[in-house]
């Protein structure tokens, strides 16, 4: 299976690449020896993901999956962000070749990890903002 046009377009012009200087949720998954590392940065305010960005070392589908994942969770509550599945990412990319499905799983895992980081207060928002 070849890459979809949607995936190619995401890879050509990712919208969410970069870091968030004051991110309060950061998740990093994968390792260099496997050829994929994703780092997701979240800015969470009042329990809402107001911004999401990524940096990814990996193939085109890993980069496109990270980019789509950021779009999909922006505006969601923390609880809803955790519900992001890799199927949603695959759907948004108009499919992924079988051997690349793991990229979409990695992206959803990175988000879950970033939310966990936030919940554990890795970089805590101020107390009064916590509900």
């Amino acid at each position: 299976m070849a890459y979809s046009q949607a995936l190619i377009e995401r890879f050509r012009n990712p919208k969410n690449v970069g870091e968030i200087a004051d991110a309060n949720g950061i998740g990093r998954v994968g390792n260099a020896s496997c050829g994929d590392i994703m780092e997701i940065y979240l800015k969470i305010e009042n329990n809402i993901v107001v911004d999401a960005k990524f940096k990814t070392f990996g193939c085109a589908s890993a980069i496109a999956s990270s980019d789509v994942a950021c779009d999909l969770i922006r505006g969601r509550t923390v609880e809803d962000a955790l519900k992001l599945t890799n199927d949603e990412i695959v759907k948004e990319l108009d499919g992924l070749p079988a051997q690349k499905i793991h990229c979409s799983i990695l992206a959803s895992e990175a988000i879950a990890l970033a939310v966990e980081y936030y919940r554990n207060g890795g970089k805590m928002p101020t107390e009064d903002k916590m509900v």
Binding site: Y3, I8, F11, R12, P14, V17, E19, R28, A32, S33, C34, G35, D36, I37, M38, E39, K55, T56, F57, G58, C59, A60, A62, I63, Q99
Partner: protein, 389 residues
């Protein structure tokens, strides 16, 4: 601009070659095994091609057997020798950097009870001759070492291996698929008993290759079902393909020096510019014993497929490792064998130049490559780590 830098994967068919093939599709279409004039006309063309191929490697025409390509030739040589001579021993020697067309038949033979020694290579990709000598046993029946590597272009010490094989009376097979048309080859002088080649690597058509089998060497048949190729390989001869292969190899050998000079100059310029303009790169494989058309470069902190795709968007065709393994996620077994750390192996790209590659094309590639590497590094968390450090 469209730039093709993947000539090790395949080449286009040379115009002269195409013209030589054309009569054998419609006008002279007879089955070369038929007794009538239609068949005899085809047979004459096949005979001529056999002479051309034989001349290119200093062999006799009777030692050339046409196949469907390099993979069949490798399979035939390895399985054929193993099965025909197993009464003398069941030990085979090869290297860790072979093409899968050699490695997979070897693995298949291991399942049948043969023992295979996989020789290591030095950092430059060359086989360790001392390890070869040590690996030889009384029951060793075959040494199979590729002439030149498809990923990093390393040319193996074929003459030395041929000599060692001869001293120990062991058959020597070489997969010369990447070397044909780039390296002068005299099978007698080099002590080669079996040699595989494939037409589409030297501006011939796809789907045709050949196995050279030295007179007196008798591998078991691989393809049965007809008396073609002196009963050694069944199947109607692919006359247009065979004619194209003969013409292509003849031309490639005739123009070898001129082509090599042109290609080497562009390759050397490309590598020098990459080293000058892009930081944190590794050139894989040694530069001394190397095919003139091959540059294999690892770009740290980024992954090969994304480099490949980004270049493709700019109209530049290259390869990450071997085209055959690009469907798999494992980094190249060849690069790992040279000692390259796995994370660098993931960021490796092979550029292979051809006789019609131009300086303008190389300059355009350099410009796009610089931008691509910069862009992907800006997206990479590993590069961010590196900068922070």
């Amino acid at each position: 601009m469209k730039v093709y830098l993947d000539h090790a994967a395949t080449t286009y068919v040379d115009e002269d070659v195409l013209q030589a093939m054309m009569p054998y599709f419609v006008d002279t279409f007879g089955n070369a095994s038929s007794q009538h004039q239609y068949g005899q006309a085809s047979l004459n063309a096949v005979d001529r091609a056999r002479e051309q191929v034989a001349a290119a490697i200093c062999a006799r025409p009777s030692e050339i057997y046409f196949t469907s390509g390099g993979t069949e030739a490798d399979n035939w040589a390895i399985k054929g020798i193993a099965h025909a001579y197993q009464h003398k021993g069941k030990h085979l020697i090869t290297t860790v950097v072979e093409h899968h067309a050699v490695l997979h038949p070897m693995e298949q033979l291991e399942k049948e009870g043969f023992e295979v020694t996989y020789l290591p290579v030095h950092a430059d990709g060359r086989v360790d001759l001392e390890a070869l000598k040590k690996a030889i046993r009384p029951d060793t029946i075959l040494i199979s070492v590729m002439f030149a590597n498809n990923e990093i272009g390393t040319i193996q010490p074929i003459a030395e291996i041929g000599k060692i094989a001869k001293e120990h009376k062991i058959f020597f097979h070489t997969d010369a698929v990447q070397a044909m048309g780039a390296c002068p080859i005299d099978v007698k002088e080099l002590g080669i008993d079996l040699l595989s080649m494939s037409a589409h690597k030297f501006y011939g058509p796809k789907g045709v290759g050949a196995l050279y089998i030295r007179t007196g060497v008798k591998p078991q048949k691989l393809i049965t079902g007809g008396a073609q190729e002196r009963t050694m390989r069944g199947g109607t001869l692919n006359t247009p393909g065979i004619v194209g292969m003969g013409e292509a190899l003849s031309k490639a050998v005739r123009d070898m020096e001129k082509n090599n000079e042109h290609i080497r100059a562009l390759r050397d310029y490309f590598v020098a510019e990459v080293l000058k303009c892009i930081p944190d790169v590794v050139v894989n494989g040694g530069m001394e014993h190397r095919l003139p058309n091959n540059a294999n470069i690892s770009f740290k902190f980024i992954e090969g497929e994304s480099i490949l795709l980004s270049l493709d968007m700019d109209g530049i065709a290259a390869s990450s490792g071997s085209a055959c393994s690009s469907g798999s996620l494992d980094p190249s077994h060849v690069l790992l064998a040279t000692g390259l750390p796995v994370e660098y192996a993931h960021g490796s790209i092979r550029f292979t130049f051809g006789k019609s590659t131009t300086k303008e094309a190389v300059d355009y590639t350099l410009e796009c490559l610089k931008n691509t590497i910069e862009k992907l590094r800006a997206w990479s968390p590993l590069y961010a780590d590196h900068i922070r450090r």
